[in-house]
């Protein structure tokens, strides 16, 4: 007895085809077949509902399938796409219940015991599960019953979310036709030979007699017909990394085309994260190359994000800076997931840029002017007149107490970087008298104050020593001149403004 009293079965029919349609949403409404093998011996391994309506079946030759349905779209089987879709379905269910069981591609059991207080009645939970699966691009059927077996049988007939009331499993399953289920080889034929058409008739048979005639398959058939679980519930634990992958049928050798693929992959990945109430604070992009190698890029996000657009922008800039060496044949995107935090806004305070917006803008600015030219700064621990250090941009809304009330009206400098070398004529006392090549070709000094001797780093190779003058020129500019005492040249250092 594993303690599960109410369980929902989430099942996606024709899962391989549904996984491909998830990656290419345009294929959802048109006949689609998944094929494997090498031409001309390619065979259909899965088909969506539209293709089955056109008599396309599994294990059918590709040529025959196309003959039956000329509009049939074929796609090769892709383990990456199926694995991503399988994880997506698990993630969607995990967002509603912490106890789920992975029973294979497209089949998930969800322990919903105790969720009624949080989410509502069984039918509400069933609808929410169907909605969660749809949010990650998978059309799922959902049935709720007292056992996994009963729910699994019921979900085959459930065109909309359905619920078997507690205790009514046997009565509900009794009317299910034997032909509605898949049976091991030999069992269906034997049951037909015995004239047994419904699960209720199987359940009425003696287990010992069934075991004697059909062996273990007979016992399993009796368990299914009785709606009995014989294996314990095996909870699924999500791994710390969330991955979404897409193999390509064609080679991509341009960044815009690669970005288009990444956008779709990111949309699927973020939909999964959102369904599980998570966000990503790091991404790892693994690009499969036509040369057989891999191109791996890691990206640390400035803040946890769950929106595809800013992430795509950051990835695009990363790829533009370091593009793959050869054509791309597949992409896999792995997100490091963290819980989302709700940050309440505070009325009456200055707004600050959202970190995700800021990260996007910073990435674009870096692409525009270079990383060394963007950022916040702080005074450096140096006496050099143009010393500063880079620092993190503060975007919190907490006012600095030490700055409150300051009202210094300081005459600003406009610093020339690098300082401009000029010619200066001095008078008999050594004070600047005429300046050549500053802001105008020739300018006479009206007033000047100085010199102030400053020096530093004398212990190092980058030692400096200079004398500075504040000078008012007759071209109506006020400048700071500096005489480099080591090189003996005059510099236009800054302009007062």
């Amino acid at each position: 007895m594993d303690g599960v009293t109410r369980v929902a079965c989430v099942w996606v029919e024709s899962f391989a085809a549904a996984a491909v349609a998830r990656a290419e949403p345009a294929l959802r409404e048109i006949p689609l077949a998944i094929v494997t093998g090498t031409p001309p011996a390619r065979r259909v391994v899965d088909a969506n509902a539209a293709a089955r309506d056109a008599s396309v079946r599994e294990d059918m030759g590709e040529a025959e399938a196309v003959a039956r349905c000329p509009a049939l779209v074929r796609r090769g089987a892709s383990d990456d796409i199926v694995a991503s879709a399988r994880r997506a379905l698990l993630d969607a269910c995990y967002g509603l219940s912490p106890r789920i069981e992975d029973s294979g591609p497209g089949l998930v059991f969800v322990d919903i015991a105790g969720l009624e207080r949080l989410l509502g009645a069984d039918d509400v939970i069933a609808h929410q599960l169907a909605r969660a699966a749809r949010s990650v691009g998978l059309p799922a059927r959902v049935a709720v019953a007292g056992t996994r077996t009963a729910a699994r049988v019921a979900v085959r007939r459930a065109t909309r979310p359905s619920v078997i009331p507690p205790g009514a499993e046997a009565a509900t399953l009794a009317s299910v036709e034997v032909s509605a289920l898949d049976w091991p080889p030999g069992v269906a034929e034997a049951l037909a030979r015995w004239g047994i058409a419904s699960l209720g008739e199987i359940a009425a048979l003696s287990r010992a007699a069934l075991a004697a005639r059909l062996g273990a398959a007979g016992l399993a058939a009796h368990d299914v017909a009785s709606g009995r679980d014989v294996t314990p519930f095996q909870p699924w634990t999500p791994p710390p990394f969330w991955e979404e992958a897409q193999a390509l049928d064609w080679e991509i050798d341009t960044l815009p085309a690669l970005e288009a693929v990444l956008e779709r992959v990111l949309e699927r990945l973020t939909a999964r994260l959102v369904a599980a109430h998570l966000a990503a604070d790091g991404l790892q992009l693994r690009v499969a190359l036509a040369s057989g190698g891999h191109h791996v890029r890691a990206l640390t996000l400035a803040c946890p994000m769950d929106e595809p657009r800013p992430m795509l922008t950051l990835l695009a800039h990363e790829l533009a800076a370091r593009p793959p060496e050869t054509a791309v044949i597949g992409v896999a995107l792995q997100a490091h997931a963290v819980p989302r935090r709700a940050v309440p806004g505070v009325l009456g305070r200055s707004s600050a840029p959202a970190v995700r917006d800021l990260a996007t803008v910073l990435a674009r600015l870096v692409a525009l002017v270079g990383a060394e030219n963007v950022g916040a700064i702080a005074p450096a621990d140096s006496h050099h007149p143009d010393a500063f250090a880079t620092t993190m941009l503060r975007v919190d809304a907490e006012a600095d107490a030490e700055d409150a009330g300051r009202d210094d009206d300081v005459l600003a400098f406009r610093r020339l970087r690098p300082p401009r070398v000029i010619d200066v004529e001095t008078d008999a006392t050594g004070r600047p008298a005429v300046v050549h090549g500053a802001l105008s070709a020739v300018a006479r000094v009206c007033d000047c104050a100085g010199p102030w001797h400053v020096s530093g780093d004398w212990w190092d190779r980058d030692r400096w020593a200079r004398e500075e003058w504040d000078v008012a020129l007759d071209d109506r500019t006020v400048v700071r001149l500096a005489r480099d005492l080591l090189r003996g040249e005059w510099l236009l250092d800054a302009v007062y403004d």
Partner: protein, 186 residues
């Protein structure tokens, strides 16, 4: 009118004037007002002329200012301005276009004005000449009035400060007659 009462979020303000007329001092006053209120500011510096020590003395919280240096590339400065104005959350986005400011077309200026309004950000354009034309809600011209020196008249020992006049040359919806003076301490 205080030194920064002219700053309006969602509007474009232009400060024009020659060198040594006090236009950069006025910009630093605006940055100080924004950062003192814990707001985020961005300064696009076309010629990388900001002096961090001077800005710190003026009371600007430099760690709240995103400083973008464009190395003299005016088109990059305009592109950076366009990016930052569209990023909601900044209280002030300033472009110091230097001595050869670019001239925005009428369509560009109005798009900039629209973006500033949407993001609710105060845009300040500083340069020798006007940049945004009719897109600006307020334009002021700075002019040096007086320099003050310490020490003997013939051999001063120190520059004390500068008095500048600020003349409103365009004010949307009002006659442009305001004029005031500022004193800046060196």
């Amino acid at each position: 009118m205080t030194q920064t009462s002219w700053l309006q979020r969602g509007r474009i303000t232009e400060i024009v004037g020659p060198l040594s007329s006090g236009r950069t001092s006025l910009l630093l006053a605006a940055l100080r007002a924004v950062t003192a209120a814990a707001g985020a500011a961005a300064l696009i510096d076309a010629d990388a002329t900001l002096d961090p020590a001077c800005a710190t003395r003026a009371g600007v919280a430099l760690d709240r200012v995103l400083w973008v240096r464009c190395g003299g590339r005016r088109e990059a400065a305009v592109a950076a301005l366009d990016l930052l104005v569209r990023c909601p959350g900044f209280a002030l986005v300033a472009l110091d276009a230097g001595e050869t400011p670019p001239r925005l077309s009428l369509a560009q200026a109005f798009r900039l004005r629209q973006a500033a309004r949407r993001a609710d950000v105060a845009v300040v354009l500083v340069g020798r000449h006007r940049v945004a034309g009719a897109g600006a809600a307020l334009a002021v011209r700075t002019r040096r009035q007086e320099l003050a020196w310490a020490g003997p008249r013939r051999r001063p020992t120190r520059l004390i400060g500068m008095r500048t006049a600020v003349q409103v040359i365009r004010k949307q919806g009002a006659p442009s007659t305001d004029r005031e003076e500022h004193w800046w301490t060196a």
